[in-house]
């Protein structure tokens, strides 16, 4: 069963334990300076953002049909059956199309490295494979971030919405965005107020480029017949003209 993360903004106290645990798991330096950064970056794969008195967490959304995986020319990114979208640094050539295309602006680049890699959360693929929760969910003291099977988490989210309707904006972010994601959000306020993009379509984005790519075989077959035909006709016309002595 695919795994997922549920982040309930109403339960988050902004302690940033998830940030620390994530940094530790990736062996990234984590100090007050890094903690103060609010943006995702190559050295910060999850971050807590503050919106007035509310908190929001950012991390890779692990889309059901990931845009990054579809655009990567070398297939360095792929969606595992377990849920996480993982990255193979040995394939990546650094075109950064994944970064341009990601609707959540998640992948980050090691801009100052001479052998740079893309960095993003991999939902603790190795830990989850051995049945352990993600480092962030493990570290969260309030249960704002929990990790489990996606279906179970969706059910849990719906239960919370029904139980305390006054506490929540009545929607689960990530349920349908770009075809559904493996990170789900609950919030007290509309999601754009905690920094999430709400102008995304419900259909997976890869379909947009696939529509164009689908036409490639047709362009090749129809195109070669058409061009070959035109060439034959125009040259034949010349040949006839030459034989009839109308042209040298």
């Amino acid at each position: 069963m695919p795994r997922a993360i549920l982040y309930d903004s109403t339960m988050c106290i902004g302690c940033k334990a998830c940030e620390g645990a994530c940094a530790e798991r990736w062996h990234l330096p984590y100090d007050d300076k890094v903690a103060a950064e609010s943006r995702l970056s190559a050295h910060k794969l999850t971050t807590i953002q503050v919106f007035g008195e509310r908190y929001s967490r950012r991390l890779c959304m692990h889309c059901a049909e990931p845009t990054c995986a579809s655009v990567c020319p070398v297939g360095a990114l792929h969606k595992t059956s377990l849920g996480p979208v993982v990255y193979d640094a040995d394939k990546c050539m650094g075109c950064r199309y994944c970064m341009t295309a990601c609707p959540f602006q998640v992948p980050a680049y090691e801009w100052h490295s001479r052998l740079p890699k893309v960095r993003k959360c991999d939902m603790c693929y190795d830990r989850q494979r051995s049945g352990k929760p993600t480092a962030c969910a493990d570290a969260c003291p309030t249960g704002a971030t929990t990790c489990g099977e996606r279906d179970a988490l969706v059910a849990e989210a719906r239960r919370r919405l029904a139980e305390k309707p006054g506490n929540y904006c009545q929607r689960i972010y990530g349920l349908q965005e770009v075809g559904g994601t493996s990170v789900l959000y609950l919030s007290a306020v509309p999601f754009e107020q905690i920094g999430l993009r709400t102008n995304l379509p419900q259909q997976p984005l890869p379909a947009l480029t696939w529509r164009a790519l689908e036409a490639v075989p047709d362009v090749v077959s129809v195109g070669s017949v058409l061009l070959g035909g035109i060439w034959w006709i125009t040259n034949r016309r010349d040949e006839v003209a030459r034989v009839e002595g109308r042209k040298p």
Partner: protein, 390 residues
Amino acid sequence: MNGRGLPKVTIWRAIFVLLMAAGAYATYLRVRYGLGGVTNLSDQFPWGIWIGFDILCGVGLAAGGFTLVAVVHIFNVERYKPILRPAILTAFLGYVLVVLALMFDLGRPDRIWHPLVMWNPHSVMFEVAWCVTLYTTVLALEFAPAVFERLGWKKPLGWLKLVSVPLMIVGVILSTLHQSSLGSLYLIVPHKLYALWYTPVLPVFFYLSAICVGLAMTIFESWHSSRAFGRALELPLAAGLARVLAVLLMTFLFVRFLDLEQRGALPLLRENRTETWLFALEILLLAIPTVLLFQRRVRWNPSRLYGCAVLVIFGFIANRLNVSVTGMEAGSGTHYIPKWTEVAVTLSIIALGFAVFRVVAQYFPIFEEHRAEPVACEAFDDREAPVEVG
């Protein structure tokens, strides 16, 4: 140049040396400090002018090659043959320079070959990578006869002649695919690209505008060659291309506005924001030459014709930069101004292109066929004989 002693110092040569020096220093910095050290790119804005100009414009500006190959060899309009080879050379150099620019932009240029062995057919970038690789090979083969003629290699010339027709058809198809696919790259960012540019028909627009700028570049390049090598401009040919160009530009502008109207994006033009003005600039740069080129006296006047070609080229560049840079800024929530090193690399690559073209044109039979005989004017669509030349 006398061929003796030191080359004369001219303003253009001085500029060339300066640009190359700046480019060389920027290259050193790029290797030493990585992308972060020499670009103003960020996680929010990962593609800058090296993609927007060097790649998107570079490939488009090289479209004259496939356009003229199709005109001369597939549609068999033989009178354009004298300007075919320079167009192929322009295209070949263009693609080589695009690959060179890509080596700067890729985070791991040592892995530029990866898409050839690690496939992802769902990626537009994968398709572009394959098409550009194959088409650069095709262009090398299309240009090879000039090299073989110069070297006097009869046999390989014969072999090339045997495969020339299928080769040219493959070249046109590959160009059709990747010229349009450069537009398809942006189909995936409906949430980022401003609505004046984002449209499901981006690939069609990229293809049409590439053909337009390919014709404009052919005129531009003929004009420069005629001055550099002291030859007369092939005015009847250039004017003929200009006529086609005017019709294509008008079609392009028409479908562009039709699309805006269909998507209900026209009201956006009333908004006072940077994008509106940049859109207006792009459209004006294309609309002015369209109107002018419909007039015979503009087409048959070398400097006016050249001016129109330059406007089309700038309009095209404005379009590509709007799609790849300025149109993406608001959606990415950030601003991007290229760093001097980015500009230096880009300018030195352009300068290199001009210089290599000149050198190659000097040593290989690029304009040979032209010397044969001036073509009779009655053969052309414009009935009256050309009056003003030069």
